[in-house]
Symmetry: C2
Subunit: 268 residues, 2 copies
């Protein structure tokens, strides 16, 4: 029986502290029997926009190697939320989600496709594309625990991405996030559950919680949703771990009884 | 200021009674200032499956002509839910949604693309494709009150349909429905709101309510949702009309502040 964990964090500008906290929470998840742990977006560094470039890392790099060692030591799958990835000869970075296998190998590397450029007066001001480049490739990774589809935060608003992942066989969707409070309160649960329902997948969606360095609060409400759309675990306030069972028999029964994935008639 | 109405019905096998009830409820909607009224799926006849063929109609036909006259008399846009459309030389029918303009003309004819073939033991047993043919064309109609995208019930589970409608300019999505109780309780509100949020459209989604001739109850919960995902009107139990304002300035502000429709990067 597979258990999955979503790790809710309040990452700050101290990368060392973030990594220590992430490691402690992933250990706690494994201690609760999780065979898959998912960290939130930008879990290893969340600071003022001007500091992004100098805190970005190559992959492999110090953060990815530490997480690889952690996955290997615990013998679990680790979807390491996202980190800001530096690439040679380009001032802009990628917002990159990595999937580590239980041997510490990188099984998947997904670069966030949809960047968060939003201006809601007096509430949210963000222009992610100023400092980051969009990825172009969707990533679904077949593993012995199921096929895992990768995405990051704002991607959640784009159903065509998840259609590609489910067409590639996805059974577990990871959506490491840092939703703002106003957009999270209005949209987060509805969209997370909709992706689970329409694609008949488990969704593991951890978020950042609380004040961010960007002047708005993050919404938290990390959740794990089953393929029927039931919220099977939800985080309370603060940092922590939530765990739920990933049941293949349940996924298969949902897909058999309500076979909407076989009824898709329009391309996406 | 445009008002839209969603009409909740408990249609039965008496077509004359259904048409009288629909007409009375559309008149009530117009009396509350609605310039657009939307009826539920199969509003003019809902009976045992064996009776479907003989209760199907051509378009134009008696039901469509009565609704055309009603739209013209009231001077409103009328999205006449769906009726079972008979076509020459084919025993299978279409599940067809019509949009009438205030002069009574047929502005749009959409034939349901995704048919409801579901077997949930002891709860829902349906095989719509046994008696009906799927349509193949998406339909979005530009009108002076906004561009109206048509769909029917089970289509709601297929986000790629609504992406096509919004790419064709849709601002108001009509989803006349007859969701079953178990699938409705689990999925209806989440999916209706998700279509509004991800496509930044108004959604007018009337449903059938109560016992159906197919042995399960329909979920009702007719709703109107704004482009931010807020449920601005919701039906209580029984038959009736709900009304809400369709505010172009609100739709435009949502699309400007959170311009996710301009951020679509993958084809659908």
């Amino acid at each position: 029986m597979l258990r999955a964990a979503a790790v809710q964090m309040s990452s700050g500008p101290d990368k060392r502290a973030n990594l220590e906290k992430a490691e402690a929470l992933v250990r706690a998840a494994a201690g609760q029997g999780a065979g898959l742990a998912v960290l939130p977006e930008v879990f290893n560094w969340r600071g003022p926009r001007g500091g992004e470039a100098e805190n970005a890392e190559t992959i492999p790099g110090p953060s990815s190697e530490r997480l690889a060692a952690l996955a290997r030591e615990l013998g679990i799958y680790l979807q390491a939320g996202s980190i800001t990835e530096r690439i040679a000869s380009d001032p802009r970075c990628y917002n990159t989600a990595l999937l580590f296998g239980p041997n510490g190998e990188i099984l998947g590397r997904y670069r966030k496709i949809h960047l968060f450029d939003v201006e809601i007066p007096a509430q949210v001001s963000a222009c992610e594309s100023q400092t980051r480049k969009p990825g172009t490739e969707t990533v679904a990774v077949a593993t012995p625990i199921g096929t895992i589809g990768l995405s990051v935060c704002y991607d959640l608003r784009f159903p065509e991405l998840y259609r590609r992942l489910v067409r590639a066989g996805a059974e577990i969707l990871c959506i490491p996030s840092a939703f703002t409070f106003p957009t999270g309160a209005a949209h987060w649960e509805t969209l997370v559950r909709a992706r689970a329902i329409e694609n008949q997948c488990y969704v593991v969606a951890p978020g950042q919680f609380g004040p961010s360095p960007h002047g708005y609060r993050n919404y938290g409400n990390s959740m794990i949703v089953d393929p029927w759309g039931t919220v099977v675990a939800r985080a309370s306030e603060g940092e922590g771990v939530i765990v739920a069972e990933i049941r293949r028999d349940h996924l298969e029964r949902v897909r058999q009884e309500l076979p909407c994935l076989t009824h898709i008639r329009l391309e996406s």
